[in-house]
Symmetry: C2
Subunit: 334 residues, 2 copies
C-alpha cells in the first residue's frame, strides 16, 4: 500500500543512513510528493552546517523538476534557502512534504524550515516526531497559524527511535558500542569490514567526543584511532585498563590536541555527550551498563576466531548494506 506510512518509511530509511553523523544535530529525513502522488525527492540531513532535511528535499525536488546548474552547485544552506524562496515559481504549490521531525522554527545555521515550507506553499506537512528541543520548537504552531494543513504522529514510534540518540546526547550522553564481526560471529580476524564500513566508522570517530577502547587492544594492535580515511578529527580516548602503564610510542598517543585517559573506571564518560566504544567480548561485558545502542558491521565471511559470549538481547532498529557488509543498529533490551 502506497500511503502515508510508505512515504514516511522512505524518509526514515534515508535519515538512518546518517545516524550519528549528523551530531550534534538530529538525523532527519524528508520526502516530497507532488499533487499527483509522484515522489519528487527523498532526502535527509547529512551533517551539521549543511542543509536540513526539508531544505535538501526541496532542493532535490526543484532539480528533479528543473535542471538548474546554479542551484545544483550551491552548498551553503542560507544561499539555497534564499534561492528557493526567490525562484520557486509556485512549483511546490500543491506538493506534500513528509518529515520525520517537526520542522525547525528558529534561525540557526539555516533560516527556519517552517518559513521555507510556508513560503513555497506546500499543501500539507506530514510529521513523524514532535520537536522537544526548546530552541527549535514551534514549527507546527507557526505552520498552523499561517493556515497550513499539518498532521503529525505518522509512524511516531519509528520516528522517535530515529531521534533517540539526539534526545539522549542533548540530555546527558549517548553511548554506543561498535563491533565488526564475520558472519559466523568471529571478530578478532584482522581487517574484517569493507572499505565503506571502515569509512562509516571513521565518519563516526570524526563526530564522537570520546572513544573508549580496551587496554588489551591498545597493547596488541597499537592503533591510531583517528579518522584518517575521511580526513576527520581524532577523538579523545579512554583506555579502559587496570594496568596503567602503556608504551607511549603506540600510535594513538602521538596525536596532538587529543586527551588520553587511562582508567578502570568509566566515570570520565560523564564529561562527554557522544561516546563510541570499540572492543570485543570483554569490553562488551564491562560497558554493558552504560551502553544505549549497539552497532554491528557483519562481513559476509566465515573465519576462525574468538566469539562473544556476554548474554545480551537486542531490538534491531535499522539494517543497511555497506559494500556487502550488513550494518545493524540495535537497541538494548534490558
Amino acid at each position: 500500500m502506497v500511503n502515508d506510512n510508505f512515504f514516511m518509511n522512505l524518509a526514515l530509511q534515508e535519515a538512518w543512513k546518517y545516524q550519528g553523523i549528523t551530531y550534534p544535530n538530529p538525523a532527519v529525513g524528508a520526502v516530497i510528493v507532488d499533487k499527483n502522488g509522484k515522489i519528487l525527492s527523498i532526502s535527509a540531513h547529512k551533517k551539521q552546517g549543511t542543509p536540513h532535511a526539508e531544505l535538501n528535499a526541496t532542493k532535490e525536488a526543484y532539480l528533479a523538476l528543473r535542471g538548474d546548474d546554479y542551484l545544483r552547485d550551491l552548498t551553503d544552506p542560507s544561499q539555497i534557502h534564499s534561492y528557493l524562496l526567490q525562484n520557486h515559481n509556485n512549483l511546490f504549490k500543491n506538493c506534500k512534504i513528509y518529515v520525520t521531525l517537526e520542522p525547525c522554527n528558529h534561525f540557526g545555521s539555516t533560516p527556519p524550515c517552517s518559513l521555507l515550507l510556508l513560503t513555497l506553499g506546500f499543501s500539507e506537512v506530514i510529521i513523524g516526531s514532535v520537536e522537544e528541543n526548546p530552541k527549535a520548537v514551534g514549527g507546527i504552531n507557526r505552520l498552523k497559524q499561517n493556515g497550513m494543513k499539518v498532521r503529525y504522529g505518522v509512524l511516531k514510534e519509528k520516528c522517535d527511535l530515529l531521534l533517540y540518540p539526539f534526545k539522549k546526547w542533548q540530555r546527558d550522553r549517548f553511548v554506543f558500542f561498535k563491533i565488526a564481526t564475520n558472519l559466523n560471529g568471529s571478530y578478532d580476524t584482522g581487517t574484517i569490514s569493507s572499505q565503506g564500513s571502515r569509512e562509516y566508522v571513521h565518519k563516526l570517530r570524526d563526530k564522537i567526543d570520546l572513544l573508549i577502547i580496551g587496554g588489551d587492544t591498545v597493547r596488541k594492535d597499537r592503533p591510531l584511532l583517528d579518522s584518517r580515511l575521511i580526513d576527520g578529527k581524532a577523538p579523545d580516548i579512554l583506555i579502559y585498563s587496570k594496568q596503567k602503564i602503556f608504551d607511549k610510542s603506540i600510535a594513538l598517543f602521538g596525536i596532538k590536541d587529543r586527551k588520553v585517559f587511562i582508567s578502570n573506571s568509566l566515570d570520565i564518560t560523564k564529561n562527554y555527550n557522544f561516546i563510541m566504544i570499540e572492543g570485543g567480548d570483554k569490553m562488551l561485558k564491562a560497558t554493558k551498563s552504560i551502553t544505549n545502542w549497539y552497532l554491528f558491521f557483519i562481513a559476509p565471511t566465515i573465519k576462525k576466531g574468538s566469539f562473544m559470549t556476554t548474554p545480551l538481547s537486542f531490538k534491531p532498529l535499522y539494517r543497511q548494506d555497506i559494500e556487502g557488509d550488513t550494518m545493524i543498529w540495535l537497541d538494548k533490551i534490558i
Copy 2:
C-alpha cells in the same frame, strides 16, 4: 533519484519476500506507476497456482483506484484475469508496469500476462530479466508486435540473481543451506528464531522436495521436520550419516508417504530439484560443494554455544526483517 531503477528495486524487494516459496515458479515482482508518476501498486508472485506478479499488481492497482469488493475477494487467477479484461475501463491506459521478468506468453494456470498488458493498454512495459523458459518465452515479441513500448535489461544483474534459483532448478537442481544463529554466531542454543522466521522455514519445507539433515541432529533433537506451522507437506529426508542405524521411533520416521534415505553419500540429490540443507558447522563443511546459496536467520541475541568455523565467503543478495530476526540470502563465492 526516483527513476526506473527506483521502481524496479521496489519490484525486486517485493519479489524477494517470496524467494523459494514460488517453487516451481520463479520469484517475480511488479510495480505499476500511473501517467503522473504515482505508484499504484507494488506486488509479486507469491505461490504456484496464484496470480503472476503482473496480475497481482494490476488487481492491487485497480483496487487502489476503485474500491471493488467483488474483485477484492477473487482469488482464482483466471477469474481475476477475466474480470480485469472486462472491467478495466481504460484505467491503465497510460500506466507503466515494471516487471523483474519478461511477461509470460502462454496459457498456464493463468492466461498469458502479455495478453493482459496489451488489452489493458499499458503505455510501457519495463522489464528486468529476459525469459529463457521455452514454454513462457515470447512475451516481449508479442507486446512489440502489437505496438507496445517495451524496454528490458533494467537492473538486469539484480533481476537475474532473483531468478537464479528458478533457472537452476529448471536445469537440474537448486540447493541451499539454511541455518539459524544468534547475533554472536552461536547456533545450538535451543529455539533461536522468531515465530515468523520459523514459519518461513516451514513454507520452504512445504516446497522443497528433499531435506538434508545430519545424523547427529536427528539423534539429538529427534525432529519431525515437517511444515506443521503452515499445515504444509513433509519433504523427503536424506539423513547424512555414516552410522546407518537410527531409532525408528524418532518423529521424522513416523510420517506417511515420506521417503527417508540414510547415507553418507549425497548422490541421491541427483533425483531432486529443490533441496534444503539444515545443520551446523559439520554439515556446512560436508555439503559445501553441492550448495548454491545460503539462508541465514540471525536472531538479535547473544548466547553461549557452538560456532561455525568452516571458511567460506559470500555475497549477500537480500536482507529482510522477520520479527526482529535478520534474514539474509547469500550467494557463495568460490
